[in-house]
Symmetry: C2
Subunit: 593 residues, 2 copies
């Protein structure tokens, strides 16, 4: 039997009562976390979004009321009125542990069947159950806390940007399909038969147009979409903090974003990050860490030994080098004894995912060198290698010989994997770094031409512009990423505002005039009418919140996430639809048999 609240109104939240409330009459409403029936006494833990309070029913209330209290079960929704009093046995593990409420009124506002998952943190129920019963999973304090941190973070970001004269402007969700870049989510148009909108992968062009429009400083916290095969921690829709400014160069953008990051970490984590944030060029990051998202919380830096082994009798090394490859290594300092041959062969199979054919290793043990490759190396070579690698007793040296890309990918990931296995990363350590001077282009093997590493509107570094036509691979971009603990949290660039330079850029990309006009014509047209110098940045908001909540799973910071096959286990989306509905948008299915 479900009752109405009637005139009863909540006076406090369960979680906010303290001993200073003792003696007050309060009305609480929430969910029954658990109930203990001791015969003449009933204890119930009542839970709301702020915490838990202990409710006591005793024989001072009517028999009817007591019987009603007996009926209450876990996850029932109840309202109680009563007086706050000191608890006999204080529970120091919860904030309300010094008090309890002796009830003199009870209403059962709703009943509950036995929930299919427990409402408690770290319940190790299967992921698909958590997603199917998301409304129960969301009752867990840890997940609710994540969503609250998410909210507070967006609030802090907005406050900061508001104070700095940024205007939040909404850009369209139904936009023009972008033939370059990731795959679009498409939306067929009913009114314009045969035509399609795309959901935005980012508001990039729109925010540049806002700069052309003289809006000066724009931001938006906005949903973006990419129809990619989902890896872990990817969602088909994700949230971006999107920022653009006029009349700025790199330093201006970095400066204001450092202040923003400082404020976020200060207010959410209570940590004052050191300003200015460290900077590292793309080349340095690759050379030292094998990655443009280096995790600086530990060492194991890459060293190049190509010159030492170029003419070695060890053909795995020298042969690779002759074939335009290189050999680099990392030193797992002081940890040789943590890795058995079996462990090392596990590391070897780990890096095969990144294209490496094998992992060479040298252990410097108490008893001397232990290595399957040592016998192929000349004494002098071995000495030079150990010197270059700063090898000492207790060290494990790991080497990969391959094309540059494979070497960097393998060792860059391997150093992170090793640190993870050794569990040497301090939980509260926080290492921020700006990666700068990215290459403007990268070579696309499939398309057999250069493509823009960021996007085709990225401004080249002034001193490299003259190389656009002759040595495009050497042109660096006015681009920057902010990397925190090895994750790319955001990135941006100064955009090209000079249409002549933009034309040279398109040519360097091998785009035909017709193609350029079709894809970006409206932007180039806009650029004719007085475009200010401008640039910006975009943060991955989901990732940022993961970092701020110490969460490894992106689904723990999103209220209603999707699975890796892009389905919602709660609602069943996506679903089949009537052929009538499909006909209205001028489409039919084209399913393979």
């Amino acid at each position: 039997m479900v009752e109405k609240m009637g005139k009863l109104r909540r006076t406090h939240m369960c979680g906010e009562l303290r001993s200073s409330n003792i003696g007050e009459e309060v009305v609480l409403m929430g969910w029954v976390q658990k109930k203990r029936n001791l015969g003449s006494l009933i204890f119930a833990d009542l839970r709301d979004t702020m915490g838990i309070a202990q409710i006591v029913f005793d024989d001072t209330i009517s028999e009817d009321l007591f019987k009603k209290a007996e009926k209450v079960k876990g996850e029932y929704v109840i309202a109680i009125k009563g007086k706050v009093r000191e608890r006999e046995s204080i529970n120091p593990s919860i904030p309300t542990g010094e008090i309890e409420i002796i009830a003199d009124e009870l209403k059962i506002l709703n009943e509950s069947e036995t929930p299919p998952i427990y409402i408690k943190d770290n319940d190790d129920v299967a992921d698909n159950m958590r997603l199917k019963y998301r409304y129960l999973d969301l009752r867990k304090p840890s997940i609710q806390n994540n969503l609250k941190v998410r909210h507070r973070t967006s609030k802090i970001i907005r406050e900061f940007l508001d104070e700095n004269n940024f205007v939040e402007i909404e850009t369209p969700m139904l936009t023009k399909p972008t033939p370059e870049g990731a795959r679009d989510y498409l939306v067929p148009s009913r009114i314009n038969a045969g035509k399609f909108y795309a959901l935005p992968q980012s508001p990039q062009l729109m925010k540049q147009l806002l700069m052309v429009a003289g809006m000066d400083r724009y931001y938006q916290i906005v949903k973006c979409f990419r129809d990619e095969d989902l890896r872990a921690n990817r969602q088909p829709e994700f949230t971006q903090v999107d920022i653009e400014m006029s009349f700025v160069d790199i330093e201006d953008i970095i400066e204001i974003n450092e202040k923003l990051l400082y404020k976020i970490f200060k207010e959410i984590k209570g940590v004052e990050i050191e300003l200015p944030i460290k900077r590292m060029t793309y080349n340095e990051a690759m050379e030292r860490f094998g990655s443009d998202k280096p995790d600086l919380r530990f060492g194991f830096e890459l060293k190049d030994i190509t010159d030492i082994v170029a003419n070695s009798d060890f053909k795995v090394f020298s042969g690779t080098i002759k074939n335009n490859g290189e050999v680099r290594g990392i030193n797992i300092k002081g940890h040789e004894s943590n890795f058995s041959r079996k462990d090392i062969s596990k590391l070897e199979s780990y890096i095969k995912d990144f294209g490496a054919k094998g992992l060479a290793w040298i252990k410097i043990t108490e008893e001397g060198i232990s290595s399957p490759i040592a016998k192929f190396l000349k004494e002098e070579e071995l000495e030079k290698i150990i010197e270059r690698m700063d090898g000492n007793k207790g060290d494990l040296l790991l080497f990969v010989a391959d094309k540059s890309k494979v070497v960097f990918d393998s060792l860059g990931n391997l150093r992170v994997e090793v640190a993870r296995r050794l569990d040497i990363i301090e939980k509260d350590d926080l290492k921020l770094v700006w990666i700068t001077e990215f290459p403007l282009f990268e070579y696309d093997e499939e398309k057999e031409r250069y493509v823009a590493k960021h996007h085709p509107f990225t401004h080249p570094m002034e001193e490299d512009i003259h190389l656009l036509e002759t040595r495009p691979q050497d042109v660096r971009a006015k681009a920057y990423d902010i990397v925190i603990n090895g994750d790319e949290m955001g990135g941006g660039s100064i955009r090209i505002s000079d249409s002549k330079l933009q034309e040279r850029m398109f040519k360097a990309l091998g785009l035909q005039e017709e193609e350029v006009k079709d894809k970006f014509g409206f932007l180039l047209e806009a650029f004719k009418y007085g475009t200010p110098p401008h640039g910006g940045i975009a943060y991955g908001f989901d990732r940022l919140v993961m970092l701020l909540t110490d969460t490894n799973n992106i689904r723990d910071v999103i209220a209603f996430p999707k699975t890796q096959s892009a389905t919602c286990l709660l609602t069943g989306a996506p679903t089949y639809i009537d052929s009538e509905q499909l006909k209205e948008v001028h489409m039919k299915l084209d399913l393979e048999k």
Copy 2:
């Protein structure tokens, strides 16, 4: 020739300089609004998003610099350095009118072709030009101001809700298609062949699930989508301020929303609205104003004369009444002389859009009654009508005889149209009203059954629940709309939280069990596990901003709006796509020949 900013950095915005800045050296950047060349003197108005400043170039600068200044044209982007000085001839019409800047440095940051539209407010260029060159249209101070008011309004809303313990939570954009309600925008799934997502028409079900999840107080400023044929002031995507609360009844929701509205009007318009806001039942609104969105800024209220003319010899009236119709009128008080016969026949053709067959009228002139219908009415009938209508010399009485719906629609719209033609509405008048006690159901002629007037989760009024099965047409809902100056700004309801009541509701709607399960199964499942009493409201944010900026055109409060055929004249969206792209999402075109 385009120059770089180099080390030059903006010190001030053009629009913020005042006489207190006289003597300061400043750097300004912006667009040239206009330039006057007086031979040895050049004046340029420099514009940025904060306003305009006058720049002077004279013979104290080098010849080269002066020549460069001569080259500058309208909408060129320039940077200048110079000293603020008192202006010789003060311009009181702009805030910076007391000062000018005598330039000693000039950089041309970008050139501009002659723009196809003027950058000035109230330029009466064609709408399609404004939309095609939106980035130029957005340079107009009035449109920039609208976007800034929009931003400030969302900021105020967020601040208020944050202070009141609401948490902003993002709900999915890729959701389950909703077979009831308006038409969905569909998104084909690539990974799940043959299945579709829909873009949300509102986060209604998701926010209710957040209440089941115990999030207590939710809000979101969020894009919603409806694929409807677009009328004026409708856009395919629109923004909603979406709010939901637990453990509340109507009064709690109205109370907090009145505080929110008070704050918005206070901070944006400087107007203190009177609290509590007036309330009116749906029935009263219909009887007096012929509309559930009554504009209370003027009278012309409806009066029912059905009883007086039920047996009249004037068959247009009595015949209609015998056919279950009715006759109502409005009194255009004191304005008979403003309406010629020709004017009245224009009004008649206006109401034909609402299904009316004709407009009967009586003028009470200095010379007596003038009316084409008077001759059909008995003296006594005429007297009673005039008495009922409160008719006096100078009044124009207008009548419609038809089915109830047509009468209300015609007269409800007619009174607004007449007020508009008479131009009697004070620009700054602000009349807010809550419309309450809506009918829970309305009869759908096409479906031949009752449908939910709001949505099927709306809670019936307690005292009407017993009528659900027997007299559904008489059941009123715990629903409320906030109407401002005749526009519905928002609406909401208390939701059903009792699954037994929800079942009765579905039955009353004639929905089969299978259908209910398919459409709302996941919600009903959720309701089994402890659902709190809850309710909420949603505001049409675009409309609210229109009201706050005194704008009649929804496109003036949206950065990149679409046309009535849902196209973007700027980017060309929607567009044709490759059949390859279509094939990837398992679709092909189904175009009629």
